[in-house]
Amino acid sequence: MTYLNMMVPGQSGRVVGFSDDSKMVRRLYELGIQPGRSIIYLRNAPFRDPLEVQVGYNLITLRKSEASLIAIEVDE
């Protein structure tokens, strides 16, 4: 298990859980980043932050600091 910010562009995985209970996590949830869903790390912005991920059919952007709250099981 790792965290989303530790992954590299092109990798995909499955959301395992969150390491924080805050408004932020609720919004992640509402945007579709929920436990059990698969997630694709698409790319970094210039200067390697923020990053773009795909969850289901949605494209989401978030910062590395926010990505560090999301625990991921990386696909082999």
Binding site: R26, Y29, P50, Y57, T61, L62
Partner: protein, 805 residues
Amino acid sequence: MSNQNAAGNVISESTIAICGNPNCGKTTIFNAITGLNQRVGNYPGVTVEKVSGTFSVDSTNKHSFTLVDIPGTYSLSAFSPDEDIAVSALIGSLKDAKSPDGIICVLDATNLERSFAFLLQVIEIGRPIVVAVNMVDLVERRGLKINFEKMSQSLGGIPVVPVIGNRRVGIEELKKAAADLPNRKPITVGTNYGPEAEKLFERLVNESNNGHRNRAEYLRVIFDANSPAEERFLLEEPDLMEVLREGQSRIKEVHGSLSLTETAVLSEKAATLFQEIVTIVRPPKTRNSERIDRVLLHPVFGPIILLLTMIIVFQSIFSWSEPLMNLIDSSFSWLASQVEAVMSPGPLQSLLTDGIIGGVGSVLIFLPQIVILFLFIAILEDSGYMTRAAFLVDRLFRWCGLSGKSFIPLLSSFACSIPGILATRTIEDRKLRYITIMVAPLMTCSARLPIYAIMIAAFIPHKTYLGILNLQGIVLSSLYLLGIVVAVIVSFILKKVIFKTERGTFLMELPSYKIPTVHSVSIRVLNRAKSFLLRAGTVILAITIIIWALSYFPHDGKITHQFASQAETARFELKESTQIYSSRLDNFYESAPVDVRSAVDDIRESFSVGNNIEDFTLIRSQMNEQHNELYGPIEALYEIQRQELATETALTELKNLEAGAYLRNSLLARIGKTLEPAFKPLGWDWKITMAILAAFPAREVAIATIGTIYNLGTETDEESLSLIDKMRQARWDDGPRQGEFVFTPAVALSIMVFFALCLQCGATVVTIRKETSSWWYAWGTFTYMTVLAYVAALGVYQLLERFIY
């Protein structure tokens, strides 16, 4: 609610709210329903932009509906101040605002599962609802099939209307369903959030003093700990604090988290609904948007494309608008000359031509630029590119103390800082939001353009370096750059010294790329143009009239008398001195033979086409060559023409002196002269000082004031003399520099730098006050910008004056 219209018919009026997730196409549907019947106002007590419109379903307009566009949110649990307002307006908990009689909930057909979670929350409000499933044409592509009948059934009989907003498909059906809402009963397919939450809900309902809250309001209080909703509730029901806290910790105990309890229940229910209603026909194709992102968000090409886009936008603002601006300019000049021709001279004529037509015309001329700028902003936003731009610049902006989310507010501020400041509501972090608000007015807004345009055209030489670099262009770009550089420095200082920001967030959806529709873009542009025209027609017109009055009155009769007698003298002297030549000529003519007479007629004819002294000298020598025997008559005719010309020039000069004397004697001049010493170090005379002081309520006024002052100051016979020429000819009328030109490139630059940095906009100050709910930030921003502007203008002028000019 009902009221009477002009014809005396009773109009029944209901308020319908339209809501949905961000990027679900809600605004497109709103535009399709209301068209141009929109107005932008504010929610009572707060400056959150409230866009509403009207529509009716029958041609008699007997039943008119007000449709309120609720800003897009992902859930009723507010994440930022603007979401809180939006949600409160929808729920009906906003103070003094009427709660909607019905709700149109827009669902994104390509994102139904998430949309359902939101719809389930909206149902809790307990109002009649109609569901609009938008973008149904894209469902096929995604390999899905939606059963709309089943959807309506599963949602307890809520009407469901499939819609394709951008092609206006299904809009009429949606309108009819919406019009029927006030007659329908709300349907409750109430969601159960578990025994702990439901028990707390019942206790709160039973023990509260206010029986008017709906279930959605209570759910916000229960699940959103430390939110504005909870705060408001506890303010009204302080006795329930303990009950609420106890219940909340019980939920947390059992489910592990308070807010996620609600989200988890909603997601699960939404997923079940999705499975019931949607059939997956085949796996979806690769997302087009993702493929476009590969290029537009490429680490190298992405920033280059963004930069090129910005260059194209600003280039077009200037090049495309030029012919239109010239057209407006000449129409207003024509209008002024027509009015002048039909009216007799006097205060009213002066008010109309110099005051109103001159003043308003000089502001309206910038309509094309504003339209083009908003056109680009609308296209970039509707296409989905704006969010990408924010993504690209986020890291860079964070170094400056801002965030990628500051990008859209700051970019909008290049059009006008008011929509820019309103757009900061998407920034959740309060400190970051305040920093963005405080630097937004430094972006070069379109109201600064008039001054830049005229100063540059008049006083910056049209030179080209290295074949492509145009000096005028360089100056203009530098002014834009100046605002940006100062904004970076200020936000950096604010971040380090005053606010000391914590980490912000950049969590959002990148919407699918869409081709913006002509309808939606044109409505947005037209609405902006409308509010600009309204501004020009009210505030700016009012200040223009005041400035005109100050510069016209007291129209001292003594001055009129003095100049009238001087003009009389001049005319009399002309008659005296030409008398001798005319009588000599007449004598000669009478005694001359016929052929000589016709030769004299020819000569007279030749002189009549001349306009100036050079012409007459030339004609004299030509005539002498042709008719050397008629030397005497030629000389006499020449003398008459020469003296008439001299008198005419003297009379014009007198008229100018008279106009100048009036202006110098005016109230405006008296105020200006008193203040002049403070602005002399900046290179300004009293006229510039007054124009710039008058522009503090609204920048556009400066150019109108200059227009009025210089129109009044130069009543030349050449009506076509443009404002630029009048300014170029302006001279100091007293003091050590008497007779020297007022405007030099150094003065022009000092004025422009002052404009670049100063907060000359009452509306912006008020908006900052409302958005931060503190006069402290409003006046703080005003003060720092004004001080900065004065110091910078002083520095620029003194430097240029000493070392270059």
